[in-house]
């Protein structure tokens, strides 16, 4: 037997399908929406529909965008000679937030994960290679996560990109800013030592 009126139950059910949202949180959110003004609720509904209707993948870098090509690929101030390869759009945003990179990107939409059945074919690797054959790129920076899956992707890409004669680099691994050497594991410390540089 439904405890709430049908539209409320419907909203709770829809919200509880979101990742990390259980029935209780969904119920709290549903009542918050119910109490908010009609215009706020309409804005939320419109925002949800907008992302579904307007967002697509950039045909060059495969980042999420509402205009094709995306604003990064259109930006002529950015260097087209350096390409940074990331696993997902959130990684691209994290790197953009640093303000330290002024080249262009390529989003793979995942990493090689044998346990999840994700191989190179499931990622935008073929598209990357086609892009590199067409564009004048001198350096590819591999900015995959320092996980087993990210490492597998880096190893695969390194092999694939060698054939194109392009310089391939990988972002440095090491002790995070704010981290402590005492709590770092041996692998992180040895990578930090390997990647040390003169100051």
């Amino acid at each position: 037997m439904a405890l709430h009126a049908k539209p409320i139950d419907h909203l709770i059910e829809a919200l509880s399908k979101l990742p990390g949202i259980g029935k209780k949180t969904a119920s709290r959110l549903a009542f918050h929406i119910l109490r908010s003004s009609l215009s706020d609720a309409q804005e939320l509904a419109r925002a949800i529909l907008d992302v579904k209707e307007k967002i697509r993948l950039c045909s060059i870098c495969f980042n999420l965008t509402d205009e094709d090509p995306c604003w990064i690929c259109r930006d002529e101030q950015r260097s087209s000679e350096i390409l940074c390869v990331v696993e997902g759009p959130n990684d691209l945003i994290a790197i953009e937030n640093t303000g330290a990179f002024h080249g262009k990107y390529h989003v793979l939409h995942g990493a090689i994960s044998p346990l999840e059945g994700i191989g190179p074919e499931e990622l935008k690797i073929k598209e990357l290679i086609t892009r590199l054959q067409k564009e004048k790129v001198t350096e590819v920076i591999l900015a995959t996560n320092p996980t087993v899956e990210g490492g597998a992707t880096t190893l695969y890409l390194t092999d694939s990109l060698k054939a194109l004669g392009i310089k391939v680099t990988r972002i440095a691994y090491g002790v995070p800013v704010g981290g402590e050497i005492e709590y770092s594991d041996g692998l992180t410390l040895s990578k930090a030592l390997e990647g040390r540089r003169e100051i």
Binding site: P114, L115, G151, A152, A163, P176, D185
Partner: protein, 265 residues
């Protein structure tokens, strides 16, 4: 809530919510355990580098009811197997070991000998060049430890043993029965794959020999070819599905070898 500690190997790890991880471990004392590590993706100290695949750690966890997800409190790193992470083929081999353990083991079924097997094979994978022999040996041992050891010392239908079967023109392995089938009985069997007497003897020996002496026996070329045709299919038959990592291994390395060939040209 009681606090427990055991040696564990990470066999699966998934991001959950904004900053949590749901991780599956194969532990020495509790078998397969699934746990949630709150804030693991944000933590710079407590979980740094201990919840990634292959990690061998001392796991500390809370478990209230002896069922469902445990709450991961912390982990002390014991071994990261760094060389596995630097070689794509080793990563695929290691993933296959992990997937096989994850699929064959039931939750909270204690199997310390499976833990020792997995640890030994990961150590070897880290230390040595990856070879197909290791995959096949791991399959044989896993089948044996989980009660699916192929019965290869006599025909599964007429019970005639090796001494008598030596003169048979052909022998088979039955995927259905998990036994040897002689030439005479083969007309009654289904899902039969050819096997030589030498391979049957080898698999039987490999299933029983002590783990520490496993490196003393070696596959012949014929035993390796026949094992490749039989063992993965027998496992898929028992599990009712093909393992993703094995399929990925086949597909990825056929494309890598194509790439290497085109580079060489």
């Amino acid at each position: 809530m009681p606090l427990f500690s055991t040696q564990a190997i990470v066999i699966r790890s998934l991001n959950y919510g904004e900053s949590d991880k749901i991780t599956t471990f194969f532990t020495k004392d509790f078998g397969k355990l699934k746990g949630i590590a709150k804030g693991a993706r944000r933590s710079k100290k407590r979980f740094q580098n201990v919840l990634g695949l292959f990690t061998h750690l001392r796991l500390i966890f809370f478990d209230r009811e002896g069922m469902g997800l445990v709450r991961i409190e912390s982990g002390d790193l014991l071994h990261l197997f760094p060389k596995i992470r630097e070689d794509l083929r080793k990563i695929y081999y290691g993933n296959y070991y992990l997937e096989l353990v994850n699929e064959m083991a039931g939750e909270r079924e204690r199997h310390p000998e499976v833990f020792d097997l997995l640890l030994t094979f990961l150590e070897d994978l880290d230390r040595l060049e990856p070879g197909e022999e290791q995959l096949r040996m791991f399959e044989i041992r896993m089948l044996s430890l989980f009660g699916y050891r192929p019965h290869l010392i006599h025909c599964g239908l007429c019970q005639r043993n090796w001494e008598v079967l030596r003169d048979d023109p052909s022998l088979f392995f039955s995927l259905e029965k998990g036994t040897l089938i002689c030439h005479r009985c083969s007309r009654y069997g289904e899902k039969l794959l050819p096997i030589s007497l030498g391979t049957a003897r080898f698999i039987d020996q490999a299933a029983q020999i002590e783990l520490s002496k496993l490196n003393r026996i070696k596959f012949t070329a014929q035993a390796l070819t026949e094992s490749r045709a039989i063992l993965p299919r027998f496992i898929a038959h028992q599990l009712g599905k093909e393992l993703k990592s094995l399929k990925g291994l086949r597909e990825t390395f056929s494309s890598v070898s194509k790439l290497e060939n085109s580079n060489a040209k």
